[in-house]
């Protein structure tokens, strides 16, 4: 009779901790009975038994964290194998009956049942482990099996609870589910015979990030129904919480798998901002640039020239991307963030980039991003400057391999050709994936961003 083991309660569960036992040694356990409460690090769940028999002993202590698959309790064959009543201490040695040195379970397992007898038992639907053998050394004989069969079906065995069967899923779906932290069991498949396929997993993963953010909640109109508003707020809070969980799992995976390295440099923005002011002077309000547009333009062009920053790390290998699909981290009002892509950003002039940026930010906040925008950035830029900090060292969005950060534009004393002046400067940072590049290439990237920003008219 096998042990009860720490089950996996989710694809990302690696270990668990028994926080409460729901059965005691000596209790009879059916398949499907709840036996313990387990803390999975994410939540506390009740776990069920996959075995039937008498709980002989606990194999782990309360509060002890063990890897998935570790035996946590021992179950022996039947109530008859075990003396009634619980043993004196909770952590007891296995109760023994048949032999002085081994549990009855061991005896049952080692009892000789020749293959022909096993075959007969199977055909007659008799469980040989539950038959007393009359042969030599307790061996089960043909007659024993036939007697057991004529005594009636295994009526004493309780029916197995209908286990929630995991859905059929394709190999690609399983791989993606693992990579993206999606629980296959919760998906509805669209593949052959309703199997869950890769796109179903992808949609589920993107759906998490696409859920309408709080900022998208329509403003209450004057005289609006208060209850409606409250219901909407509650839903918004729920969405925010779910978005937070999704970001958490994505970032945890990124930090776990990507060996990040970080670089930082300070860039003089005086030419860029001067150029921008000149441009803006002739532009209507709706077309004016903000500094972010220039920073994005420079980043996209630099990414084009340093291919190790631009692409995806998939299946153990880096796949550089020809085009630069620039992810833009957009903070959502009400919490959370998304990083949709501006496609082919390296080919957009600052003005075009500006309108693409406004468009994508507006839609991100309204919860109307397109699927491709969510799924295919090749490098991401985060610009926390508006919030007042000077630098940001971000976490790379896996499977991308680089994240560029810009802080606030600040005026600083700046030495130029032996003289001191006051210049607007910005701190540009790079978080990059060491599996793909080294500091030298990363440094080249930031240096390029700097160079490009010194000649804004060429952007």
């Amino acid at each position: 009779m096998p042990d009860l083991r720490m089950p996996s309660l989710g694809a990302d569960m690696e270990r668990g901790k028994v926080v409460e036992w729901l059965v005691r040694p000596g209790d009879y356990v059916h398949r499907g009975d709840l036996i313990a409460e387990v803390d999975t690090e994410k939540t506390v769940m009740e776990i069920e038994s996959f075995e039937e028999g008498v709980l002989a002993e606990y194999l782990v202590e309360l509060g002890q964290t063990v890897p998935v698959g570790t035996p946590i309790a021992r179950v022996t064959g039947t109530p008859a194998d075990v003396p009634a009543g619980p043993p004196a201490t909770p952590i007891a040695t296995p109760p023994d009956v048949a032999s002085p040195d081994g549990a009855a379970a061991t005896a049952a397992a080692e009892r000789a049942v020749p293959p022909p007898i096993r075959h007969l038992a199977h055909r007659l639907d008799v469980d040989v482990d539950h038959i007393d053998g009359t042969g030599p050394a307790g061996a089960v004989t043909r007659a024993d099996v036939e007697a057991a069969a004529s005594a009636g079906p295994r009526s004493s065995a309780p029916p197995e609870p209908a286990a929630a069967r995991p859905p059929r899923s394709s190999p690609r779906a399983r791989r993606l589910a693992d990579e993206l932290g999606v629980d296959l069991a919760r998906l509805t498949g669209t593949g052959p015979d309703g199997a869950v396929i890769g796109d179903d997993v992808r949609r589920a993963a993107e759906g998490r990030l696409e859920e309408r953010p709080a900022g998208a909640v329509p403003a209450p109109t004057a005289g609006g129904d208060g209850a409606d508003v409250r219901g909407e707020r509650a839903r918004a809070a729920e969405r925010t919480a779910s978005l937070r969980r999704a970001i958490g799992s994505l970032m945890a995976r990124s930090k776990r798998e990507i060996p990040h390295y970080y670089l930082s440099t300070t860039i003089d923005l005086s030419s860029a901002l001067e150029w921008m002011r000149d441009e803006n002077a002739d532009l209507p309000l709706a077309e004016r640039l903000v500094p972010a547009a220039l920073l994005l333009a420079a980043s996209a062009r630099a990414a084009k020239q340093v291919p190790e920053m631009n692409g995806l790390f998939v299946d153990g290998a880096f796949r550089p991307s020809d085009a630069v699909h620039l992810g833009v981290a957009v903070a959502l009002r009400g919490g959370g963030l998304v990083a949709p892509a501006i496609h082919d950003a390296e080919r957009l002039a600052p003005g075009e980039l500006m309108s693409a940026l406004r468009d994508v930010v507006a839609r991100a906040r309204a919860g109307r991003l397109r699927r491709t925008e969510m799924s295919d950035p090749t490098i991401t830029v985060t610009n926390l400057g508006d919030l007042g900090v000077e630098s940001v060292f971000g976490v790379i969005y896996a499977p991308q391999v680089a994240l560029v950060g810009f802080g606030r534009v600040v005026e600083r004393p700046w030495a130029i050709e032996g003289l001191l002046g006051v210049r607007p400067v910005v701190t540009a940072t790079l978080s990059a994936d060491h599996r793909v590049s080294d500091g030298l290439r990363g440094g080249r990237f930031l240096a390029l961003v700097d160079e490009l920003l010194q000649k804004p008219e060429e952007l």
């Binding site: 394709s170 190999p171 690609r172 779906a173 399983r174 791989r175 498949g189 669209t190 593949g191 052959p192 015979d193 309703g194 199997a195 396929i197 890769g198 796109d199 299946d315």
Partner: protein
Amino acid sequence: MRTTYREAMRAAMREAMQRDERVFLMGEDVGRYGGGFAVSLGLLEEFGPRRIRDTPLSEAAFVGAGIGAALGGMRPIVEVMTVNFSLLALDQIVNNAATLLHMSGGQFNVPLVIRMTTGGGRQLAAQHSHSLEGWLAHIPGLRILAPATLEDARGMLWTALEDPDPVLIFEHGSLYNVEGDLADDAGAVDIDRAVVRRAGADLSLITYGGTLSTALDAAEALAADGIDAEVLDLRSLRPLDDAAIRATVAKTHRAVVVDEGWRSGSLSAEVSARITESAFFDLDAPVGRVCSLEVPIPYARHLEEAALPSVARVAEAAREAVGAGA
């Protein structure tokens, strides 16, 4: 230039003989009769009986003679009328042509090209209609080609003759009359790569030779249902272009292999196995196969049509793979 598969193949042989005096053609009826499928029609008049040689009806003899000529420094093209007949020469092909380089410790190459017709669809019954190229693709030491387009009919032969080792070219009998445009300057093509004949996103139809058009027609039919099929033409059956097979499956996540050979122990089985070996975690559906039914190819037209891979069967397998089966 408007031309046919047959004429493109003939142009390839003519060019080869003009370019290299070591090249000659031999086989049953290739001279006076113009070839069992009229591929060499007119070549005897052009090149004379020393280079266009009619042979006795003994495949073992003339394939063996081809091997000897190749060992002696010539560049023979041997035509075997159909792959069914090549079984008579199997000893020469498998035990000699394929092995001599290895058995001589690398001293003797066998620069031989064997052309043969394969496949059914022409009511020639069970002894002239089988697709046995998958068998020969099992043999190390041979290179197996399956030109499916005019460009490949025109261009594969020269590249095959350049190869220092034996190359077998399988011409599907239904292709000879296929007509189309061929560039005036069409010439040698590579014989290593599989080529995507139709790009698609939803599934890959992997095929070669005579069933390329079946797969392309099925892809059109599927497009009407909104299923975007990619069609990969293997072109070389040995060696297989593993990278191309992997790439198309990585792109579409579903594959149906279309092969006029029988399913059991077939080239389609090999392709399917390689997909499972190298692209398992890219798959969204089991690899499907559409092959000839496991019977000797029948003579009666309706039975023959029922036995061979059809557009309808390919489309059905494709729908099943994308989960849109009826």
